[in-house]
Symmetry: C2
Subunit: 217 residues, 2 copies
Amino acid sequence: MNYLLPCLKKPDRPEIPRKTIYRLSIYLRCLARLKDNAIRTVSSEALAKVAGVKSTQLRKDLTYFGQFGTRGLGYEVEELFQMISDQLGTKSLQPVILVGVGNLGLALLSYRGFEKEGFEIIAAFDIDPLRRRDKKVTQPLLGMDQLEEVIKERGVRMAILTVDAPSAQEVTNTLIAYGITGILNFAPLVLHVPEDVMVNNVNLAMELENLSYFIQG
Amino acid sequence: MNYLLPCLKKPDRPEIPRKTIYRLSIYLRCLARLKDNAIRTVSSEALAKVAGVKSTQLRKDLTYFGQFGTRGLGYEVEELFQMISDQLGTKSLQPVILVGVGNLGLALLSYRGFEKEGFEIIAAFDIDPLRRRDKKVTQPLLGMDQLEEVIKERGVRMAILTVDAPSAQEVTNTLIAYGITGILNFAPLVLHVPEDVMVNNVNLAMELENLSYFIQG
């Protein structure tokens, strides 16, 4: 989640709130479950309910992408699934790299949730790739000197950044120089990047702090 | 990040946007660095810059909590740090439990970032606590039958949920029944909870999808 920017203008597209895009991901998961259960149409009320949003919100989110659904009949599950999948760019497996193979990096490398959703971590990089680690991973673990080659040869655009805070900005600059335009950042600091680069931040301690604030008596 | 709710009303407090609370976490980290460098005052422009926000935003966020700073002199670093730390409830170490010790759960248990920020994972729970795991952890790994005792004896309010999607709602209901009011959810589904329970969702595949949308050419 980017904690700072409410939305982002994409070249040649209308300005769509980031939260709409997050909700598209939720709708996609709900539609996938309907498909698995051989359900072919769904009303906006029913889809909104399983997604945990209001049906007005669902309809508003979808209007950014065209006309969907038939009054009284609802949405075609397959059609809506394809549209959202197209929009999110997750129809074909996208190559992703991971930089920084410590505890968290190792865990993400063995996390099987990404491929199911259309992302493949094709390689991991670390300043010390040969250091003994607690766990074997299936991806190649390479040194930083091979970063450029892999990014360019495989046309990688997205990177998961799990390095420590002091080196995060420098590594980010390197990634951007080699062609990375999307970064999922786990380092607890604000990365400074050019306008055409997108950073989503995941800061686990901040999520706990946020909860902590709201549950105080 | 809760992808659905823009803000939440807390009993006896003004309605404060969630994003303001996330930004407080960022300001706190920036102020901690200033303290480390023995810097005693900071202008709103300088603090806003390191936090990656506009100074108008910073000033607006702080007005929810009272009057801070002196025109021309800026903020007292220590005073502002204490205020934010008080608000976030992270001054004393808060006990947290983790439920679901698979790959991701194991990784979070060995992640050292939480304690530094005021959270201590005091125990982990799993339906199969004795299963052989890739890695040793320092926290006690207990069965679900001990959940109630630990939550009640230690007064735990927050839980990290790293179970798989099919069991997530049921485990959530159990946690709430035993007194948990804040859940950091990593399971890829929308949890249904009573109004007085707060859920923050971290869905790593959704973060990649969100990036993927915005970096398409």
